[in-house]
């Protein structure tokens, strides 16, 4: 059986095509403004890579903050459900999943079967997301990759005062003016975000194994800061940013076209109502 999983995130789209539990092809591209078009285009590209046509695919399940834009998908599952399914496929010992993307950070407590037992999110504020790190890298005038690398060379821990990404940029600029080493600033940025993510993770409880996924899992500086912050080892799977799409494909394989993540999803809707 050939299935597809697509994760339409705030910043990037990820697609995986699987056949009988084996990965056939995968690809990613920026989401951009025209999210629906980006999703369609990438899906077709990945299919072409695998020399397949849309008709060859039995089921496609979408996930991600803009999953509704993948009109060709037959089903949609919440991000947390996709994360749990995807991670458990790769690392069956995972119990706590930390997913930090461009626009959201979340922590999930997963059952050995890949069910979401509990989850907490950090959203609608860039302070606890990959966007924060990108903004700070821009202020440092280096790439996110370089910032990650040099932060590992830092020998000095300095606090970052600003929580907001906008104020954080000014703080980074003043640190540069004060002749602070770039590597120490880089570490301060990663420590700050790791602290916020760890607080969110503590809400669901930190239990071994802790697995980090999402775009930020590729950031070695952040992962190291997180490791120090929680005082536990963390596991980063290969292609950590494809885990959501992989989980969606796993759901497609299992015939799950809809999944409820109890407790917090309900609360999130209530939260929206409460705000309105």
């Amino acid at each position: 059986m050939i299935v597809g999983g697509i994760d339409v995130g705030g910043k990037n789209v990820h697609v995986v095509i699987m056949k009988d539990g084996e990965m056939l092809a995968k690809g990613d591209s920026p989401t951009g403004i025209q999210k629906a078009e980006a999703a369609e285009r990438l899906y077709d590209e990945v299919l072409e890579q695998a020399s397949l046509k849309r008709a060859d695919v039995e089921r496609v399940v979408a996930t991600g903050s803009a999953s509704k834009r993948a009109a060709f998908a037959q089903g949609m599952i919440p991000d947390a459900a996709a994360d749990a399914r995807g991670v458990i496929r790769l690392i069956s010992s995972a119990r706590t999943i930390i997913d930090v993307g461009a626009e959201e950070g979340r922590a999930i407590k997963a059952s050995p079967e890949g069910k979401v037992l509990d989850f907490a999110i950090n959203e609608k504020c860039a302070a606890g997301t990959g966007t924060f790190v990108e903004a700070m890298a821009r202020a440092l005038e280096i790439s996110v990759e370089d910032m990650a690398r040099i932060s590992l060379e830092s020998t000095r821990s300095i606090p970052m005062n600003a929580q907001c990404a906008v104020f954080g940029e000014s703080e980074v600029v003043s640190l540069i003016h004060a002749k602070t080493e770039k590597r120490d600033i880089a570490r301060a940025v990663h420590d700050a975000i790791a602290g916020r993510i760890a607080s969110v993770a503590r809400i669901v409880g930190l239990e071994k194994d802790v697995v980090v996924i999402g775009g930020m899992a590729r950031n070695v500086g952040f992962v190291e800061s997180l490791r120090k912050e929680i005082g536990m080892d963390v596991v980063v799977p290969d292609d950590p940013d494809f885990v959501g799409a992989l989980g969606a494909a796993a759901a497609a394989t299992a015939g799950v076209l809809e999944e409820e993540v109890e407790a917090k999803v309900v609360e999130k809707e209530k939260y929206e109502e409460g705000k309105a």
Partner: protein, 104 residues
């Protein structure tokens, strides 16, 4: 005076609210707080008040969301240690934690 310490951002309202008219300045909240968020001292917002009052330490105000989260304000099975410790009932939390992390 109701002093709102904390912030509101895209994700919600994150405030520790201290009613200084009720606060006796006893300091039990500060002792009870596991995150060392609270302090007792001079009333910074009323220079003519001679009595000490509780407040949130300055460096905690921008990260109160994270500092207070372990105690599950507004949604935990038991009230937070600061609220339990405060006899006059001067401390409360805004709904951010409950709405974001609470269960029914």
């Amino acid at each position: 005076m109701k002093a709102f310490f904390g912030f509101k951002d895209g994700s919600g309202d994150w405030f520790v609210i201290i009613d200084t008219d009720r606060c006796s300045g006893c300091g039990k909240c500060a002792e009870a707080c596991p995150s060392n968020v609270l302090q007792v001292g001079e009333d910074e917002y009323d220079p003519f008040n001679e009595e000490p009052v509780a407040s949130v330490r300055e460096e905690e105000r921008k990260k109160i969301r994270y500092s207070c989260a372990p105690c599950q304000p507004g949604y935990g099975e038991t009230p937070t240690p600061c609220i339990t410790a405060c006899e006059p009932g001067a401390i409360s939390h805004s709904e951010g934690w409950k709405l974001m992390y609470g269960r029914q």
